[in-house]
Structure formats: C-alpha cells, structure tokens
Amino acid sequence: MKPEDEVKELLRQIGRTDRSWSAPPVVETRLLEQWDSSAADRKFRTGRIRRRLWIASLASAAAIVALLVFKEITPSRPSSIEQIDSRTLPAAARTATTSFLYGDDFIPLVVGGGTAPVQLARIRMSRAALTAFGMPASETSSGQIEAEVLIGEDAVAYAIRLIRPSR
C-alpha cells in the first residue's frame, strides 16, 4: 500500500471515530435563549409598527373627514349662471345671485382710458357669448339674450347692459 493511501485510510478511520463529536448542550441552550430574546424583540418591533400604522390610518381618516366637511361648508365659486341656478339654493338667494347682470347701469368692459362712447347698439346674442365679455355663462347655455352695448369711436365696446327679458 502506498503511504498516501495509508494516510487516506487512517484519516477515514479518524473521521468515522469523530462522527460522535457534537457541540456541547450549552451551545443549544445559548442559541435558544438568543432566539427567544430576538423573538421578543421582533414582537415588540412588530407591535410598534402596527401601532404606527394604526395612528397613520386614523390620521388619514381624520384628514379625509375634515376635507369633506370643509368642502361641504365652503361654497364653491360658480362657473356659470346655469350652475348657480341648478344649485339647491333658496329662490330668493338664486335671484339675488343672478340679478346683478340685469341692472340699469352699464357694466364696464374696458378699465379706464379710451375715447368717449359715441354709439349705443342693441344686440341679440347667445347666452354663451357672454363669456366674450368676461361674464359668467355656461358653455352649454342656450337661448338668446338682448343687450345694449356702448361703442366708442375706435369701435371698441366699452360697456354692456343686459336687457331683462320680458316675462
């Protein structure tokens, strides 16, 4: 037998004898203690995370409720006469809201300057065309309205007055 093979044989004998080796029981005890303390730590951390999630959820819910309440009590800016009309406001309030367009006074269209108006023109136009004069009107508005427009020498419309439709 070659010396290397002899060594191999001896080593295998040693290996088989040493199969009975195992770590002392104290190692397992220490490891399980470590496991338990880690588990307790994990549980504590999990509980803390859950509490934080609860707080975050409650805060979000409170914010949503506050937003809804605020939206409910804050009147939104009307974008058109129709929108105002369609709102469920008392009739008196609705009239007060829309009547400012139908006064005796002209509503200026140009701020300051310009020449004195020389001509008064009565025109019929679609309700939607009010937007061209910077007045509130829905894009879906239908029907014709009458208005008087003050026109200057330079052919610029200076003021407008809506004619109240006869009932």
């Binding site: 080593l11 004898t17 338990d36």
Partner: protein, 193 residues
C-alpha cells in the same frame, strides 16, 4: 411547525420565526458544523464558538438559503468555513485533546499503542497543514464528502480539489514517516509549493 422536514422548508420556517424549525435544523446539522470547525482549528473551544456563531448567523439569514443553488449542507459548510477563518485568527490553535481512541482489530497492545500514537501524530499534522490543504483533507477524507461538493464549498474547480488532496496526503505521509524515523525536518513548504 411545518410537517415537511426538508432542510429547505426548515430554513424557510426559521425565516418565518418558527423556533421548533430552528431546533430541528440545529440538531440535524450541529455535529457537522462542530466537527468541521474542530478538525480545522484543533480546538474544542473554538469549534464551540464557531458552531454558535454559525447558527446565530443562520437565525438571521435563513431566508437567504436557495435550495436551487445547492444542498443545505454545502451552504452550511460555506458559512462555517468563513467563521472558522475568523476563529483561527482570533484564537491560537491548540492541539486536539481528549480525542477518542480508535478501536483496532489488533490484539497486540503494542500495535494498538503504536496505532494510537500514529493517529495522534496524524491529527497534529492535519492541524499544521496550510488552511487550503487542511480544509480539503477535512472535507474529503475526514467527512468523506464528494469532490464535487468540496469544490462547491471551497469555490474552486474539482481538479484543484483533487490535486490539493493528493499533495496534502503526500505531505502527511512524509510527516508521519519523518516522525517515525526520528524527527527529521519536514520539507512541507517544498511539497506544497
């Protein structure tokens, strides 16, 4: 705990915080880890520390084990190997004490004594080998695992495992011969160059 007691399932259960799975896996593999560490370091104390470190590490990183990349044993040896390297650096190695006596068929008490002496010398010689040769001897000859698995653990080609094993055995044979011939200096460095 899960009924599936495969290493992969136990590792997955450990990652989920299953204490029983950890106990099960520890009892199944602790002796492998301890033996490898003790053969590598020659110290029961260091082997004990290494075993504890390896399983503490496993406690935290069990989820990293991927059964498609190799056996759990290979994974465990790989971790143990790195802790052994740290253990060797930290503590001075000591020669094995209290190693079990090998039961021989020889009836002659003189032969039995000579065999025991040879075994002790061989153990000491193994511990004195350079680490890269020692680990191959431990894995392939003492633990009798396949060359392929040893190559996977050490992270080198199978051919390298074979050549290291051959050289290491030659050195050990020379060491035993020299000691028995009267303590000549072993030319290890030349053999392992």
């Amino acid at each position: 705990m899960t009924r599936d007691h495969s290493d992969a399932h136990l590792a997955a259960a450990i990652a989920q915080g299953d204490r029983e799975a950890f106990e099960h896996l520890y009892r199944r593999h602790q002796s492998t880890v301890y033996r490898f560490a003790r053969h590598m370091t020659g110290s029961p104390e260091v082997a004990e520390d290494v075993t504890q470190e390896v399983f503490l590490n496993l406690m935290r990183t069990a989820s990293r084990y991927d059964s498609t990349r190799g056996s759990f044993q290979t994974y465990l040896y790989t971790i143990t190997r790195s802790f052994v390297a740290r253990g060797i650096k930290r503590k001075t190695m000591v020669t094995l004490d209290g190693a079990e006596e090998i039961q021989s068929d020889a009836d002659d008490p003189l032969k039995q004594t000579m065999l025991q002496q040879m075994i002790e010398r061989l153990r000491a010689a193994v511990v004195e080998l350079p680490a890269r040769y020692r680990e191959i001897i431990v894995l392939c000859d003492l633990e009798e695992i396949s060359y392929a698995e040893a190559a996977a653990i050490v992270g080198c080609p199978e051919g390298t495992v074979r050549s290291r094993l051959h050289r290491a055995r030659r050195v050990l044979a020379a060491r035993l011969r020299d000691v028995s011939e009267g303590g000549k200096t072993v030319q290890q460095s030349r053999c392992l160059a």
